[in-house]
């Protein structure tokens, strides 16, 4: 990422993020929701990395580990769910543009009582892909939750300890498509 990232960032339509008068580019001057016009932006190589964590009971994480050692279908299904969510972001997030996703990478880190998912998305489009990475993370973690529901629920059907936390964008980069140094 270079200094000109700032000047041409995908939502930077007269953007001045000085904190005093934060601007919502998805709302026009009369307060109506709108898409951001990206027609005059060049295609750029863009990359965004998002991460999040689902906290589970130790026995559930143990079952995921056992499955992973055996067949791996729990995390494989979550990977597929995350990739599909990345590709569907343009319809899930109402004001998102559809951009050509060139790569999605999903990485699970299984600890004692949690599973952390990192999703990297790359595109060569006119707008960034952090929403795609975030959708990949939250949906991927929701799929993990769905896959371990029976193991994680208490006897009366509740989830007192299951929790998704720390969903964040780690990095966001951009470089001109024809200047790939």
């Amino acid at each position: 990422m270079t200094a000109d990232e700032d000047a041409t960032d995908e939502d930077a339509v007269g953007e001045e993020t000085d904190g005093a008068e934060a601007e919502l580019t998805h709302v026009d001057e009369t307060g109506d929701v709108q898409m951001v016009d990206v027609g005059s932006k060049p295609d750029s190589h863009r990359r965004a990395v998002a991460r999040g964590t689902i906290h589970l009971t130790e026995s559930t994480v143990g079952a995921i580990r056992d499955d992973e050692i055996g067949k791996g279908d729990v995390l494989a299904t979550a990977r597929v769910g995350a990739v599909q969510a990345v590709k569907h972001t343009w319809e899930t997030i109402p004001m998102c543009h559809q951009i050509p996703i060139t790569n999605v990478d999903t990485d699970f880190d299984v600890s004692v009582d949690a599973v952390q998912l990192t999703v990297t998305v790359e595109t060569t489009g006119k707008t960034g892909c952090e929403m795609e990475a975030l959708e990949g993370v939250t949906t991927g973690l929701n799929v993990v939750w769905d896959m371990v529901k029976a193991a994680e629920k208490t006897a009366d059907g509740q989830y007192p300890e299951t929790r998704i936390t720390d969903v964040e964008v780690l990095t966001k980069e951009k470089r001109r498509a024809e200047n790939t140094a």
Copy 2:
């Protein structure tokens, strides 16, 4: 919710959640991913409530408040995104069944530096709707993120403080369809 919740819960196919040998009902005895057969379950009135929070800078939350006082399109768009995500859960979460959603309620609580979203989902189907409520919460919060991107990004396009946390299922209930007391 009554005691027979436990015995007929939607994923409780021989479920024994004693913590010692957690069971993954979306994986069969040979480790292959599968849907859960719900063909012999009765239709029940079911309700699930999920909640989550997005942490933002104070100036961004101020802009949301101003918009809410003025036109309200930021949170209105997030409400629509949340409702649509609830209805699409059967395709977003690979092993979910499609169930007839009878009601979705979205409630935003805007504090000084965060927005909390609570989503309530009701159905009269053969399986629970907590995944629908979770999808509503995570997508609704992602839509808020998308709507305030320009306000929330630092000068070099990063999101050092934006974060989605505390995504959890608050309650889950079930009662027989013909016994609506």
Copy 3:
């Protein structure tokens, strides 16, 4: 349709349509958009008929007629588009519930300079299907427009006379599922 239609109509949550104080049931008491809770409504046989017209040049209508006499693919494609639009209404119209469509009938009436499309939709659900019929009509007519674009455009690519008009709901009926007289 009987008198109890009025009392149990799908949106009639305390509805008083006296014209003096029209009520928007998709907006709650604080002005937030919402789905209507249909959980306590019985399943009913419901039927709605909508109709609309696309005005075209006489030569274009002649080409449709010739095609209809020959292969029929123009109107066949529009029929498929209309049926698919009916089935997708729950995702196209944000606050619509998904209901089980049991029948869709599409009827084209080709006159000298117009094509009229009537779409009948039937369901056995908890809410009416007039939005499904309207989506079928408007999408079906848009498909006709798409199929005849080259014939209908002027030399400089404009559509001075093409026009969709008179889109309306002709009838809407309901009868209890177990009382099908």
Copy 4:
């Protein structure tokens, strides 16, 4: 738009729109429905504007106005529905290509007894975007209808006066992507 618009227009595959022998480019020489091959067309900046009107009772329009002054969720939801419909046109209209939408603008004009919606769509693709603009208009107006159903229906559940009319393409423009004067 320049004179070469005529010669390279998206459907102008040997097009001769002299009215005497109108040609249906979505039907091949043997009468079978087909997509139009756009593989050899250059990417162009394209823009289309469509407009339509929904006629409502005065009291319903009054309720929309009151909501707009208060929270604005009725028209905000219709805006979201219109934008989503624009983005989904490639799957709604069977023979449409998927094109990269760079901008969507929705403008509502609320009069005494009608709401007029104008949708502007821009793309940098190989084919025009008037179908996208039309889908935005018809779906946006259908969403308005859905949002005011309870207010607009008569006591016996009919819509004698509600009507969508005058759906038309106002303008359609194209200029080469690398020649943006």
Copy 5:
């Protein structure tokens, strides 16, 4: 399946399959495509089993086996693709009704130079689910093809031996919902 299967089968609207005058129920008396009206049919437990085979080189099948022994992601991804295809049949096959899928079972049989996929679908709806089973089989096998493309292609990018064959419906059953003996 009992004798009354014949009389109430989902497409048997005056069906006489004597071979002399085969009837197309998706085409009405005037030759127009149509959905079949299922509004008066009772809900039944229905089950359909379809099967198909993809022929591959022995080395490719070996790679699938190795993966299956190791992580299993190739067939896990194909399972997810098959289940999703089953659930999406109502939009993939234009005249299909949407029915509530209660169970999907996918079974892969890996031989020396082929992979056979059997998909079982169960529903409690008004119409059969053989199209859902067929969509599961063909899509699941296409996913296998996609997953092994690099291994299966010749040096000049062709697939001289890859082939999907023997896609058939093995059995189709129905019993009344309230008579589950």
Copy 6:
């Protein structure tokens, strides 16, 4: 197709298809499912042709022929289903990229007891379109099956002779976008 097809083929990331050690590019070095990174590939004109056959009883094929002579809605509906399946491949096949489809051609060959469908797909993207062509063929043939269900079923609702076979990729070609000789 030229010799450099081999070297830059869309999945050829270090590909060595010598048969001895077949490589699965949708599975990474640790066995996890992944998309293939196509970000550094140039846009190319690509074309793929796939074909398959559905075997039917002679009387059913006769009914299709009669319909084709009359209105043609059976095969027209199958054409639409095939085109839509081609456009939806990026969501049907989990690890596929979304590519801009520039052309789809569907060709039916009706013989005495079978219907053969050939689907040609063209794109100007970073990856091949054989999966799109295969999805078009299998879905188009499934639509034919759906359209002739009533004619093809035996008296007890089974399909002893209906069968889809010989689904294969006939050719696959690529040439640089700026070098269209």
